[in-house]
Subunit: 449 residues, 2 copies
């Protein structure tokens, strides 16, 4: 990333909606002590997952998360000014999850031809090494010898064949007690990871084979309601409204009537909120696969007709997610406009952007703007052609500055960090619920036997 | 601190001694994974004190700590680029020592007229607030109303009268569960801190009324020996030789013969090490009060005669430390030259400098160079007239970069961080020993009763 980009990342909001956002931000900054105390109490009871990235959308009158990735990529897009914070957070996170760890085996995604992903992986390896751990990468591909990748950044990455030896995974005699998963398990659970005596972080239960976006955002809504009650803020400012619709099959047009009516109801609910807050925008909803990521299986709708009038190609597109995982359930979520604009190069035009915030343990460790030159304020930016601009130089999300303007980089980023951490906390609750459900299932199985 | 200073802080070593240092540094950087693994295992068993600053001296052929302050001041001299690291470390530290804390009461030193100290205190308050805690300062001075200080930096600091209510300390109804001590208790333990139900961090046992520099450096020597054995390095490179001499009274000339012979022996021991490593410098020793700080009660000697030929004034100076605390024991320590030079302003001459490294919990959170325009390579710089230059911009001690030169800022600072953390770890052991000794005393008292 050229250093020019670093200097121009200061985002610009459409002046029209600055007013409400400044009010929301000011309120959050003023309440930062209550907010931090609330988070501290939460983390004590609900430890944060190892890492996460959260996509936010800033509509000015509203700021909300739209995706929470618990196996993040994009580490190569972070501003190096955050390196010390990242390294310190990794040390704290490993201390929390596996205090005796000396070495770490990383198991990445399979797509070895995606240079962006490989650069992210190389950056992740470098961070973990800087934190003082020995690192190897174990490949899930059917390779029999180590494979080297020379990356555009000049880094070299080596992926090793992994093998299962009893209850352990090894690469080339390297058998550390900790396995760091950077694979979101969209394709289902992996047999090789079952029943290991090594610690897998994050746990495989947080993969997309098990998670549900609807569950995640339900918890997020509850938590936002709780936090907002303590600081006296309308939770709608931070939380998208949503609907769920049970089983769906876009190709067979099953569940279409339900989808149609839910979209209609949700649009009406959003319109009511817009009226309440005198917002003149046109409401829209985003329909997305309940599990999975990568911006696949996502569509927007401004009316119920948009759902019924899908053509064959659009239906096919809505039927499959990453790694061919079928879509049989969708989340219908309030669309949040992005009125934030960032230029990719200095003196360049500004384009629609959404902040992506990174966390390790419960610490904010950086982020970037996802910028798209060809997308509008009400479209998903997580699609081919997106560019990445690191968060502004010399600032960090963890530090509010009550004496500065809420519009200052520092304070805007603090507020982003609050919303991103709320989503992270929702994931922590999610994990707890998944475990409790699994335990109940086992209990039932035991009772039947 | 003007931004010019930030850009010129890159230290320069006398070329003569660069060679040996580069070898030591390269070795440490190469071994950074073993070193980090060793530290991790240590911190698990011996939690770090809340905060510390460590004065280092870099002779090129040797790099060693000369003072470990567990109630540090100087927070105003840190480079703001480290702010996020500092805030994150404070959050982790409070989590470790008092996870439920929402507010923190700081009890500072008494010297309310020292603007440097008050600026440091204001910076500390700002850090703790940024970490999300409510903060008040409780004064040990006999004040009855809050006193405001307007500082040169533009900050305002308010000190409140403290009162003891049962087993708690309060200021103006503010009675948090955590008291952060920024007073090194040189003057002895404070009755108001005895038998509190609130958590005092760091514990009062780490004050100078209880600590001994000789104990500290004995533990430091042991730990350095242990770490150096794992990475195959002569521990002398990181550790000053030393002697102790029991009771001493400079005014009454008690203990003088012992002091003289110990100085002589220590000088001979240093000379032998110099010969072994072909070092042409003249050995010297530093004699310093076994308890206390602030650069008081410190003298250097190049021969035993330097000790016997002290005049009345010099003897008086060696008899009293900070807050009039008498000196009845001294540490005789190998003097470490400082061949490191730093300029105070851009394009200015370079002067003798020593790095001071700050830690919170077991994390390195910044530091500065203490620079003195009027002192030589073998003199204490901790004296009036010292200036402070923040550590170089855009770098952090926690991150080694094995691909860069050991002479790079990043790697030099990593090495400083290793030595500083060794001293911090020694303090962690010290606390454990003090507690064990206290428990044994209580046990004996119990047995007698």
């Amino acid at each position: 990333m050229p250093s020019e980009a670093l200097r121009t990342a200061h985002p610009e909001l459409d002046a029209h909606y600055c007013g409400p956002l400044l009010r929301i931000e000011s309120h959050i900054i003023r309440c930062h002590r209550q907010i931090e105390a609330w988070f501290r109490a939460q983390w004590l009871k609900h430890p944060a997952p190892f890492y996460a990235s959260v996509d936010l959308r800033n509509a000015g009158f509203k700021l909300a998360p739209v995706d929470t990735n618990l196996f993040p990529a994009g580490f190569n897009n972070l501003n190096h000014i955050f390196d010390p914070v990242m390294v310190q957070a990794i040390q704290a996170a490993v201390e929390h999850s596996c205090p005796e760890a000396k070495d770490i085996l990383i198991i990445p995604e399979r797509h070895t031809r995606n240079l962006f992903y490989l650069e992210s992986l190389a950056a992740l390896v470098a961070f973990v090494e800087m934190a003082g751990f020995g690192v190897r990468i174990g490949s899930l591909e059917p390779i029999t010898e180590p494979v080297n990748f020379d990356l555009p950044s000049g880094r070299t990455l080596t992926q090793h064949p992994i093998c299962r030896v009893g209850k352990r995974i090894e690469v080339d005699g390297f058998s550390p007690c900790t396995i760091l998963l950077n694979n979101d398990l969209s394709g289902g659970r992996l047999e090789i990871l079952d029943d290991l005596e090594q610690t897998v972080i994050p746990p495989i239960e947080l993969g997309w084979w098990k998670r549900s976006k609807f569950e995640h955002f339900s918890i997020y809504q509850d938590l936002t309601r709780e936090l907002c009650a303590t600081i006296d803020l309308d939770p709608w400012y931070l939380s998208p409204l949503m609907r769920d619709c049970g089983h769906i099959d876009f190709l067979k047009r099953e569940g279409e009537t339900c989808l149609q009516s839910q979209v209609q109801e949700l649009l009406a609910e959003i319109q009511a909120k817009y009226d309440e807050h005198q917002i003149k925008e046109k409401p829209f909803v985003v329909i997305k696969a309940d599990a999975g990521t990568y911006g696949m299986g996502v569509m927007t709708a401004q009316s119920a007709d948009d759902v019924t009038q899908l053509n064959r190609k659009q239906r096919t597109r809505m039927s499959a997610s990453k790694e061919g995982l079928g879509i049989d359930r969708v989340l219908i979520q309030e669309g949040v406009h992005s009125f934030e604009k960032v230029s990719i190069h200095q003196d360049d035009d500004r384009y629609v952007a959404e902040p992506v915030i990174y966390m390790v343990d419960h610490f904010v460790v950086g982020g970037f703007y996802r910028v798209h030159t060809e997308k509008g304020v009400n479209e998903s930016l997580n699609s081919p052609g997106a560019a990445f601009v690191p968060l502004p130089f010399n600032e960090a999300c963890s530090l509010p500055s009550p004496d500065s303007s809420p519009d200052s980089e520092r304070n805007r980023l603090y507020v982003y960090g609050v919303v991103a951490r709320l989503a992270l906390l929702a994931a922590a609750y999610e994990y707890q619920m998944i475990r409790e459900a699994d335990a109940a299932t086992e209990q039932m199985a035991g009772d039947v036997a």
